[in-house]
Amino acid sequence: MSSRVEVYPNEQVDEKLPLALWWRQLQAIFRVEAKKNFFNRRAILLYLLALNPSLIFIMLIAFGSKRRLIDPVSIIQTFSEVYEGLILRVVIFFGCSWIFINLFRSEIVDKSLHYYFLTPVRRELLVIAKYFSGLLMASVIFSVTTLLCLFLIYFPRGYEASMQHIFEGPGLNHILSYWGISVLGCVGYGSIFLLLGVFFRNPILPATFFYCWELISFLLPPVLKKLTIIHYLQSLTPIKLSEGPYAIVAEPLTPWVAIPSMFLLTAVVLVVTCLRVRRMEISYSNE
């Protein structure tokens, strides 16, 4: 054991807004969290979930109607159905629940959250860094899922026809729209699940309630639809799908309302989460 005795002076932070320090701290937390998110063994399940839609498209290519897969209108119609029914409502929803609930909850269960709380870092920064690390993971994974599915749906048409559809037809607009919706879905769902993970000891029940609420959104009157995330996301889809004979139809929101609304929701949720985490106590035995 070393017998040298030298004490490093602690960095003095006299500034009211030590932005450089906060930036360094955000980056450091982000690095730790991103590494943990992407390379955690638990992430394997998430990768499998994200691969699911691609497998469905592979099966469609292998066993589906060839005529339907060559017709440009059918292609985007098929993609829209799979996207809204599976990618958005299942893969992104459950993927985000897994990622964002666990940002705090898994560390409480593993009894390792206190290490963050024992560093000279504002807890608000911790919340923001954790949220954005989760958002990075969710966005990357579900963007890949969306783009891979789009690639697979265009694949049977051949290179030239696909390029023509993408760059001379509506393809590029569709690709960018669905990719953007996936990212926006991660932003919106992520913030809600972050909140549930921080406020509830067992977030499964509120998450199930939230899932049901999102699921029945087509039955809700227009005012209540505005309290669902899916309504904002569906408003942005380039292809509007029928929601069935019992659906209560509401006017889709314009992108200028839908997109800022998601960010506004996220900002409000982050503020509430920060307040909660600021007051949070570490008492693992009660968890």
């Binding site: 960095e11 730790v32 390379f39 570490i282 009660n286």
Partner: protein, 309 residues
């Protein structure tokens, strides 16, 4: 100075600690008490991991509500034997230094120094999951001291350490204390606490039952007379003289090997004066004289007793 002013903490209806008034100065202060007595609660309150139900805590002029300032001055080695997943020992120490705001180069230097101090340089590249309990204890210690805090809180820091590592860690604590650091630790290993502490705080059922240096605490325990074992050539003669001093000696009995005498006295200072007189008068050959119950173990038994075992 670290101060607790009328601090209470309740977990629902369960008492954690109650009406704690305590001032802790530089040096090694040990919190001693049975499981569930409130030692960890007190440490968690000091570090802001818990909030007091009532009262206020001040650590070097800072409230535990300000982690961004407090943890520049405070390091806490908590007793939770858990770590962020997938990290090596070096990653663990260095990552949290970087999160603290140190630039990478400085974080690397501080990490190297901390690993050296706890003798874990060779194992630093291994994943923490593969460490033995003692190594995990030491890497947590390294993480707590890496940023050179002025206050170091250690919850059961000797747990899981082999005797060699324990001696090294105690030497490190003494060194840190000599540098002017505030060390607050809890331990069940009473003789080691006794050996290294400048001050002990005995806690039981959420209340402080005694506070001070070991000898000072012992001398205030009037209801438990001090026991002294005197080994000399004429213990029977000494016993006869001692029985004449019933105002200062409560009990005297011969040791079973008949070469010593146990004395129980309520006034040690007066007894020692009297004893010196007897030695000179009777020309006693004194082999040894030492108190047998003025250590922390005895104090613990008297004040907390079987409740704690």
């Amino acid at each position: 100075m670290i101060t607790f002013e009328n601090v209470s903490k309740f977990y629902g209806e369960i008492l954690g600690v109650n009406r704690i008034n305590l001032s802790i100065s530089r040096g090694i202060t040990s919190l001693v008490g049975p499981n569930g007595s409130g030692k960890t609660t007190l440490m968690n309150l000091m570090s802001g991991l818990l909030r007091p139900t009532q009262g206020s805590i001040n650590v070097l002029g800072l409230s535990p509500d300000q982690p961004e300032k407090l943890f520049r001055k405070l390091g806490y080695c908590a007793q939770f034997d858990s770590f962020p997943k997938g990290m090596t020992g070096r990653d663990f120490v260095q990552s949290f230094l970087e999160i603290s705001g140190f630039v990478r180069k400085e974080a690397i230097n501080l990490t190297n120094r901390a690993l050296e101090r706890v003798n874990l340089v060779d194992a630093a590249k291994r994943k923490v999951e593969s460490y033995s309990k003692g190594m995990r204890q030491r890497i947590r210690l390294a993480q707590a001291i890496a940023h050179n805090p002025q206050v170091l809180i250690l919850d059961e820091p000797l747990n899981g350490l082999d005797p060699m590592a324990r001696a090294e860690v105690i030497a490190l604590f003494r060194q840190l204390s000599d540098e002017g650091m505030y060390l607050i630790l809890s331990s069940h290993i009473l003789h080691e606490v006794d050996m290294m502490s400048d001050r002990v705080v005995l806690i039981n059922n959420g209340y402080i039952v005694a506070d001070g240096d070991t000898r000072g605490v012992r001398s205030e325990m009037q209801e438990h007379p001090l026991q002294i074992l005197i080994r000399c050539d004429k213990p029977s003669l000494l016993a006869a003289r001692v029985f004449q001093q019933d105002d200062i000696v409560v009990e005297a009995r011969l040791h079973k090997d008949r070469r010593g005498l146990f004395i129980k006295t309520v006034n040690p200072d007066e007894f020692y004066l009297f004893f010196n007189k007897v030695v000179l008068e009777q020309n006693l050959q004194v082999e040894s004289i030492h108190p047998v119950d003025d250590d922390l173990d005895a104090i613990y038994q008297y004040l907390i007793g079987s409740e704690g075992s």
